[in-house]
């Protein structure tokens, strides 16, 4: 059978050319789209959203203000073994146990509890000043956690003291 007898066969080249003009070449587009997808998958940095603890920085206070309120000192020190030692006012210093498993409560809860009992003993209110005194070697992690534990008691007048 000759090809010319077939209905689907069109020997006219110009007609075939016209039909092809309407074709969209998908292959390069799919290539680009896949490249974009791979790029986004590889460069995406999945991480938790950061939170923030509001804090006030120390300002110059007048002598009269200093005499009016005697701040309660909270000294925080990090030991070389990684533990954290805290002393509230003149009370005995205590070590904060590090968290051993996920189900345990925050290890700095003990600081909140002890601070609350000291505040109650001394008859201090929520607006009374607290001086957070870290040493030069105290880890920033321990400073922030101690601040968080104090903030938990709704104490808002917390000042950072500069280390020597």
């Amino acid at each position: 059978m000759s090809l010319h007898t077939l209905k689907s066969y069109h020997p006219n080249r110009t007609h075939r050319k016209e039909r092809r003009r309407f074709e969209i070449k998908m292959t390069p587009m799919i290539d680009v789209v896949f490249l974009l997808l791979i790029f986004f998958l590889l460069t995406a940095n999945f991480r938790s959203k950061e939170g923030f603890l509001p804090a006030e920085l120390p300002q110059q206070v007048t002598r009269a203000e200093q005499l009016e309120f005697v701040p309660l000192d909270v000294q925080v020190d990090s030991k070389p073994d990684g533990s954290c030692h805290v002393q509230i006012g003149q009370t005995e210093a205590f070590a904060i146990q590090l968290k051993t498993d996920e189900t345990q409560r925050s290890e700095f809860d003990i600081l909140s509890q002890r601070l609350k009992s000291v505040l109650d003993e001394q008859g201090r209110g929520l607006m009374d000043p607290i001086k957070l005194i870290p040493t030069a070697r105290t880890k920033w992690d321990h400073v922030v956690k101690a601040y968080d534990a104090i903030w938990q008691l709704d104490l808002k007048n917390i000042t950072f003291v500069l280390a020597e």
Partner: protein, 156 residues
């Protein structure tokens, strides 16, 4: 007839790409919408975690000025950054000059807006002595309120 059947078989073997392209485009749109493009000033560092009172904002304030304290690659030293301006202590003859430069930069960055939000991001393994220079610079730059970056949950 034979050619006709060949042509027919050939046309049947083509993939239907439309559905796949739809899915791929949806994935791209999804990634473009959910990803928060990391601002240049957000240096990668391990901020303190497990702070129950840390407030996670719904939307990141793009106008907030971020002051970062970042350990160097060998963890022996630190460098400071006010937004994307970096301050390396080794480039300064004295700490006073470094403090002055940093506080000036903080003043410039925060003077554009009243009640400017300032974030302090510092690596959790740094010592207070290393971070307090940033606190001093903020204080010298006239900042009273600062937000300490910390994760609400345990990240380990």
């Amino acid at each position: 007839m034979k050619i006709n059947s060949i042509l027919k078989t050939h046309s049947d073997s083509q993939f239907n790409m439309t559905a796949m392209i739809d899915v791929v485009f949806l994935l791209i749109i999804f990634f473009m919408l959910i990803c928060q493009f990391i601002v240049q000033e957000n240096f990668t560092l391990a901020i303190p975690d497990d702070c129950v009172n840390a407030v996670v904002p719904d939307n990141q304030d793009q106008n907030a000025v971020t002051v970062s304290v970042i350990p160097t690659e060998n963890n022996e030293d630190v460098f400071y950054a006010v937004r994307s301006s970096q301050f390396l202590p080794k480039n300064y003859d004295s700490q006073t000059l470094l403090l002055e430069d940093m506080s000036n930069e903080i003043s410039v960055q925060t003077s554009r807006k009243e009640n400017q939000l300032v974030h302090l991001r510092a690596d959790k393994d740094l010592t207070y002595k290393q971070v307090q220079l940033a606190l001093q610079a903020l204080s010298a730059g006239g900042i009273q309120k600062v937000q300490l970056a910390a994760f609400k949950n345990d990240q380990e």
